[in-house]
Amino acid sequence: MKARTALLAACAVFLVALVLPAFISGYGIRILNLALISAIAVIGLNFAFGYAGLITLAQAGFVGCGAYITAILSTTLGLSPWLSIPAAVIGTGFISVVIGLPMLRLKGHYLALATLGFNVSFVIVATNWKSVMGGTDGISGIPPLALPGWAFATDHRYYYVIWVVLAAATWCAWRIRNSHIGLAMIAVRDDEIATGAASVGVTRIKLQAFALSAVYAGLSGALFAHMANFVAPDDFNLGHSIIYLAMLIIGGEGSILGSIAGAVIVTFMPELMRDLGTAYMIVFGALMLLILIFLPKGLLSLTGIVGRRLKASGR
């Protein structure tokens, strides 16, 4: 029975995830944590780009918003991370609505460049607004997430937090995908004019997708801040936005699991290739290019999955 297989599969994944840290070193766990945290941001990006077709280069900027908001609140104002993280998520969502309202009237590469401008400006502000955001020195000493008497201060412990959040985020994304909001987003990507003619508020749908992507990004950034205990502007620059897009495309755009797979692969690959020495960035770039050329549906297509196929016409 299909439902039972799904349940068994879920249990298997759960068990593996539970025991994995026991077998992995601090280095491996750190990379895994980074990959899973990125996965959250990429799932978010999937809403904006995979479903609604918005080319956004702002994702790292939103991750940065989440990271900095929680950093500032938990260091300067001494708020508990349990409060500052939700505040960061909400704050980032709010910022995305404010900039989304004007920007989402743009399409295609105009939108791409506008979001690029936002990301670049975010880094410039973070670098120069030293009093609040710490400048290039960033904000350090960010406290770890903690329960009374017990802190998630090591990567092994924090891994469980990230897993829980990722699982919840994935489940939410799946529900949204199958809801009318998700279908509306996909409709916008497939044929914006028809959707508009069906008198569904296209800008409102785009804004929902954009805000969702930002909310996920903010969550990702906040989680990162309390793991690394340090944030600096360069961690959220344009290059990172492009990497998130690459993760999504390589994993399989339009697919939630593709988002996770892409995040894991693109995070691990440079680390796995360290032994190549000076040439490894060349190999990494070339490999990515080859994947783009030969696996257009992303790597998840290797397992024969047909994720939600979103064939856009005339792009």
Partner: protein, 386 residues
């Protein structure tokens, strides 16, 4: 229509395969016994390589020299390099990898402050002593007992610049131009304070972005504000651009410039006449006339690597010799190494004299120099000590 399920059999198998692979890959590499493996975080690829290359070289060289002199604690020394590129998270990953791979008694961090700041919490978790060369004051203000800085910190450099401009050159109206980041800005602020404390006036402070190529607007403003001397806090390429522009614009003012521009990598970007009014400050005055040890170091370095050594990379050479001295005395126990490093006093290296203070700073003086007219060669003037 469509796949409403999140999981399918194949996805789970793929995930299981990935998890297994991850576990296998992540197993510890056992360190060779009979060897002491020490970690070194170096920008091997990426834009920071221009300085990273220098300590990649100096550490390779010192490894061979130390092994020729019996190694450390009676065993052969092996320095394991990991690439930190130009990214904070890659730097942290590299640190964690080295900790996992070789469980070293000591790790050299990179020379970039933001990378140092990002790695610092992990140093505390790992409880491994480390030497670093990032200059930002924020690092030593953390008072991390495990970390030791092997070159003068940026605040000291700013002090030296200000002191030389006012006391050394006797100038009264100083204009400050600086690179807008964690190195330039605190330096500029510190220099401003020092200049005022010395009774001179700061007529303007202008910043430029690290990637800027045209600072003519900033220079123009400082000139028009009536500056009789400029303090320039910059790295190599941007410092060279500033000096080139000053010559083009006919701004004939004396300049007291930070060390970045005098490293071999940057020196060839400047023509001798662009250096005509330049005085500068260097971490260390690496010239044969400082003594036979220094002369031998420069000669060996140049023969082996075909480039001149610079002070930023060479401080790691000194750091490694200090490490040998310490390990020969107390062995490879991390806490003992840390405690012994705190006691370093008046160690004479090729770059400087090392004495550890309460902040973990080991170097407290800088060299001031001018330029021999018509050349690019520095002429030593004096040392400024904190």
């Amino acid at each position: 229509m469509g796949n409403k399920r999140l999981f399918g059999r194949r996805k789970v198998m793929a995930g299981a395969a990935a998890a297994t692979g991850l576990t296998i890959w992540s197993q510890r590499l056992s360190a060779q016994s009979g060897e002491v493996a020490v970690g070194a975080m170096v920008p091997i690829t990426g834009p920071f390589n221009v300085s990273g290359q220098q300590y990649h070289f100096s550490l390779q060289m010192v490894q061979d020299e130390i092994n020729a002199k019996g190694g450390v604690a009676g065993k052969k020394l092996k320095i394991v390099f990991e690439d930190v590129k130009d990214s904070n998270s890659v730097a942290v990953n590299a640190y964690l990898k080295v900790v996992r791979d070789i469980e070293p008694p000591l790790i050299f961090l990179s020379s970039y402050t933001t990378q140092n700041l990002a790695t610092e919490p992990e140093v505390t978790k790992a409880q491994i002593p480390g030497m670093y060369a990032g200059g930002g004051d924020a690092m030593h203000l953390k008072k991390n007992p495990w970390l030791f800085r092997i070159r003068p910190h940026d605040g000291l450099q700013a002090l030296a610049l200000a002191k030389h401009a006012t006391e050394g050159l006797g100038k009264k109206k100083i204009g400050i131009i600086y690179v807008q980041n964690d190195f330039g800005q605190p330096g500029a602020v510190a220099a401003e304070k020092m200049v005022k404390a010395a009774g001179a006036e700061v007529v303007g402070m202008e910043a430029y972005a690290f990637t800027d190529n045209d600072m003519s607007a900033q220079l123009q403003k400082l000139k028009n504000a009536g500056a009789d001397c400029l303090i320039c806090i910059s790295y190599g390429k941007d410092g060279a651009l500033v000096l080139k522009l000053m010559k083009e614009m006919g701004i004939d003012l004396p300049v007291v410039i930070s060390s970045g521009v005098m490293v071999p990598a940057a020196r060839n970007l400047i023509a001798p006449d662009e250096l005509a009014h330049v005085n500068g400050v260097m971490d260390a005055y690496l010239a044969p006339e400082r003594g036979p040890d220094v002369a031998a170091y420069i000669k060996t370095f140049k023969e082996r690597f075909k480039v001149d050594p610079d002070p930023f990379g060479s401080c790691y050479y000194d750091g490694a010799w200090i490490m040998k001295q310490v390990m020969d005395k107390v062995g490879t126990d991390r806490a003992k190494i840390r405690d012994e490093l705190k006691l370093v006093k008046d160690y004479k290296g090729v770059t400087n004299t090392f004495t550890t203070d309460e902040w973990g700073n080991m170097v407290h003086s800088l060299a001031v120099f001018s330029i021999k007219p018509g050349t690019r060669d520095p002429v030593f003037i004096r040392t400024i000590t904190a």
